[in-house]
């Protein structure tokens, strides 16, 4: 007997009506997706799972503003992005208060710092390639980074990214173009690609 799968929008409408069980199904269905975005956006050594939970708490808090015309995952990514931005701002403030310099180009020092803060599980997950790639992603401006994550890892369409990021499809294409060019430049030395052609 075929099992009936209720789509996300229907579940969210049930949540809006006070159905807790429906929300549990949604969380279960999308928890890994949200954790992926949070982890790739904010990086290792962080309480990514805690922040991913925070995303769902915000989704629940905003349940009354959900309208079925919006694709649930697009709406979810919007909340996810806002939560990541808020967390990033909080971290910047904390780093500033603690006198830790931000930015910088000494990746080896950052990798070493990462290695000290990684859990054993993260250390296994993050091999050298991953650390270098993550540093390259981190070097991107916020909008390029989020567009890249949604496109590369979540397989979102230009239209979905545009909706989640509140910008035009043309702007998304431009962000992805610049992200690719920046990544190619950032990774040139590591991949022994040579200097970009003019």
């Amino acid at each position: 007997m075929a099992r009936l799968v209720i789509d996300d929008s229907e579940l969210m409408l049930r949540v809006r009506s006070g159905d807790h069980a429906a929300f549990g199904v949604l969380v279960d269905r999308h928890k890994q997706r949200v954790l992926n975005v949070v982890y790739r956006y904010l990086g290792p050594g962080a309480d990514a799972e805690d922040i991913a939970q925070e995303v769902f708490i915000r989704v629940y808090g905003a349940r009354r503003s959900y309208v079925a015309s919006a694709k649930f995952t697009t709406w979810l990514y919007t909340i996810c992005r806002n939560t990541c931005l808020k967390e990033q701002a909080r971290r910047k403030t904390r780093r500033a208060l603690e006198g830790i310099p931000m930015g910088g180009t000494d990746h080896s020092a950052e990798v070493a710092a990462d290695a000290q803060t990684l859990s054993p599980l993260e250390a296994v997950l993050l091999d050298e390639h991953a650390i270098v790639a993550k540093r390259a992603i981190d070097s991107l401006p916020e909008a390029q980074r989020m567009a890249l994550i949604l496109r590369k890892y979540e397989g979102s369409t230009y239209e979905e990214i545009a909706e989640a990021m509140h910008c035009s499809v043309r702007a998304v294409k431009s962000l992805l173009y610049r992200a690719r060019v920046t990544l190619r430049r950032e990774l040139a030395e590591y991949l022994e690609l040579g200097e970009p052609s003019e």
């Binding site: 807790h20 929300f23 549990g24 969380v27 279960d28 928890k31 890994q32 954790l35 992926n36 982890y39 790739r40 309480d47 990514a48 799972e49 805690d50 991913a52 939970q53 925070e54 769902f56 708490i57 629940y60 808090g61 599980l121 993260e122 997950l125 091999d127 390639h129 991953a130 270098v132 790639a133 993550k134 390259a136 992603i137 890249l148 496109r151 590369k152 890892y153 230009y158 294409k173 992805l176 173009y177 690719r180 060019v181 990544l183 190619r184 950032e186 990774l187 040139a188 590591y190 991949l191 690609l193 040579g194 970009p196 052609s197």
Partner: protein, 176 residues
């Protein structure tokens, strides 16, 4: 198509293929241009390297933890703070206690400032300048102009004995 246009089109083609016409034009250019072929390879490899960034799997208690917080929020009528956060700042006793502490701090600061104030008029820049143990406190031009009479008097005092000697000498010359 020239190299500049081909390089500009490459990211778009790699991302979603681009239009048939654009792709055909770029492919034709790449066929005869090793430099642009290398650039396409570089863009592809740097994009593929991103696959190495893997996220950990969500913990088994993820959904349960979220649902616990959601139920708690419904019970209390407001969403709780993150589990890692400290005690809520809205504890009933904390707001008045904080206000009282602030008032006490202000009173103490005012008392300390009052009791440690210098007696009488603050020292003039000339006096300050004469003190050897105050590095970094130099009189400004405004200070000097305002206290010019003091400086002149100090000059007179410095030369008082010289003036007196000169006066004596002049008097003796007159007598001679």
């Amino acid at each position: 198509m020239n190299c500049r246009r081909a390089l500009k089109a490459l990211p778009e083609i790699l991302d979603d293929g681009g239009s048939d016409a654009l792709r055909a034009a770029v492919e034709e250019h790449l066929h005869g241009c090793p430099a642009c072929r290398r650039e396409r390879e570089a863009l592809s490899r740097s994009w593929e390297l991103l696959d190495a960034v893997r996220a950990p799997a969500a913990g088994p208690q993820f959904t349960a933890a979220v649902m616990t917080r959601v139920r708690a929020s419904d019970t209390r009528g407001a969403l709780p703070r993150r589990a890692t956060a400290g005690p809520g700042i809205r504890s009933w006793w904390l707001a008045p206690a904080g206000a009282m502490a602030l008032v006490a701090l202000l009173v103490v600061s005012a008392l300390v400032t009052w009791t440690h104030r210098p007696p009488g008029r603050p020292p003039t820049p000339a006096v300050v300048a004469a003190l050897p143990s105050e590095p970094g406190r130099m009189p400004t031009d405004e200070d000097i102009i305002r206290d010019l009479d003091v400086y002149e008097q100090l000059d007179v005092l410095d030369n008082l004995w010289l003036l007196a000697d000169l006066e004596v000498l002049e008097d003796s010359e007159v007598e001679l």
